[in-house]
């Protein structure tokens, strides 16, 4: 069990560094097993991130958008290691600026061959990146309906 976990941890770590660099256009990030636990099977996981041009810091000091982007990088690294058949992301692009929304949707393109992705969003750039668009309306107040949409 210990070997398996270590193997998974190392592989996810590599994916995480790669996804982080893609999303931030540089910089680096790292996952560390917290030292205070002796046993690998008990240890918690610490995350440190260094956006380009900044110092390596704990994730608490990152900005709102930097945190969301780092979280997406971690999520993508878990999916890369072990794909899940589906993924639902509810407005994760809300805190991102335009440049980061583009990098985010480009990264999602890499997951789409293994995973059915549902992206709930208000952001036009994210809508443009999708293969298909569904609209949810309340033509009748208080009652939801789902309609396929074409993108104008």
């Amino acid at each position: 069990a210990r070997e398996r976990f270590r193997g998974a941890f190392e592989a996810i770590q590599e994916h995480f560094q790669e996804s982080f660099r893609t999303l931030f256009g540089g910089g680096r990030a790292e996952l560390r097993l917290s030292e205070e636990d002796e046993d690998v099977l008990e240890a918690g996981i610490e995350v440190a991130a260094q956006p380009p041009g900044k110092r390596l810091q704990k994730i608490g000091l990152l900005s709102g958008g930097e945190k969301a982007l780092t979280a997406v990088a971690l999520l993508v690294s878990l999916f890369r290691y072990r794909p899940s058949p589906f993924c639902i992301l509810d407005e994760v692009d809300a805190p991102l600026d335009e440049a980061n929304v583009e990098r985010f949707t480009r990264l999602l393109q890499e997951l789409r061959s293994d995973t059915q992705l549902i992206l709930i969003t208000h952001n036009r750039k994210s809508m443009e990146a999708a293969d298909l668009l569904y609209g949810v309306t309340m033509e009748e107040p208080g009652v939801s309906k789902i309609l396929p949409l074409r993108f104008e």
Partner: protein
């Protein structure tokens, strides 16, 4: 494994029977504030067995039943069905086009030992087998037990219902079963416990903000 489609009836703001087809690739879900987008995510979490009302933004589980609008009265039941294709195949099942997922899945079908072993294969998901809408629960007797199943059908349908009384029902291809049967079945697929495949609105930071020990659970799930 592929998600084929979901049918929602009386769940949150979905009053009438609503169908949501799951395409491949990336699907964007859009619409004005309050129109019901996040309720779709809640429906998926719920039918896959979510037990905490607070994860569904509700106080009690019965709150997920349509509780009326300006023009409609509250309903007595909510029901969501999720249709899978090639439940046990690797990846998203495109490879084994022969239609029977068990063909090149993980080999032996799910083995669930239960109190009284009965040989009940999962019946083919009949398109027309609409569970009786409305209030009356099916008879208890037909509860399903999964045992040595040779052939898992091409399509598996997981259904969950809840009544105003708070009683929940789980159904697998039209046959009543227990939550545990569904959880055991899903645990053998790539869905696992879904710790990281659903990110709720405003909760993207939780992936990072969780305490190191909690974060570990996501890694163990993946490992």
């Amino acid at each position: 494994l592929r998600l084929d489609r979901m049918e929602i009836l009386g769940f949150k703001s979905f009053y009438g029977r609503t169908r949501f087809d799951f395409p491949d690739g990336i699907t964007a879900v859009v619409g004005p504030n309050g129109c019901g987008k996040s309720n779709i995510g809640d429906a998926i979490s719920w039918v896959l067995g979510e037990q905490k009302a607070s994860s569904l933004r509700s106080d009690r589980m019965e709150d997920v039943i349509f509780n009326g609008s300006e023009g409609r009265r509250p309903l007595g039941m909510a029901e969501v069905s999720l249709h899978f294709k090639n439940l046990l195949a690797d990846g998203n099942g495109h490879a084994n086009g022969n239609g029977h997922g068990a063909g090149n899945g993980h080999g032996a079908a799910p083995e669930v030992t239960v109190a009284a072993d009965r040989e009940v294969p999962i019946p083919e998901a009949a398109e027309s087998a609409r569970p009786a809408a409305g209030g009356a629960p099916e008879s208890q007797a037909a509860a399903l037990r999964i045992t040595e199943i040779e052939e898992i059908p091409e399509e598996v349908v997981v259904t969950r219902r809840i009544y105003r009384s708070g009683e929940s029902e789980y159904v697998l291809n039209g046959q009543r079963c227990r939550l545990k049967d569904i959880q055991d079945l899903l645990a053998r697929t790539d869905i696992g416990s879904r710790l990281y495949s659903t990110i709720e609105q405003g909760k993207i930071d939780q992936v990072l903000a969780a305490r190191p020990k909690d974060r570990r659970a996501m890694f163990e799930e993946a490992a």
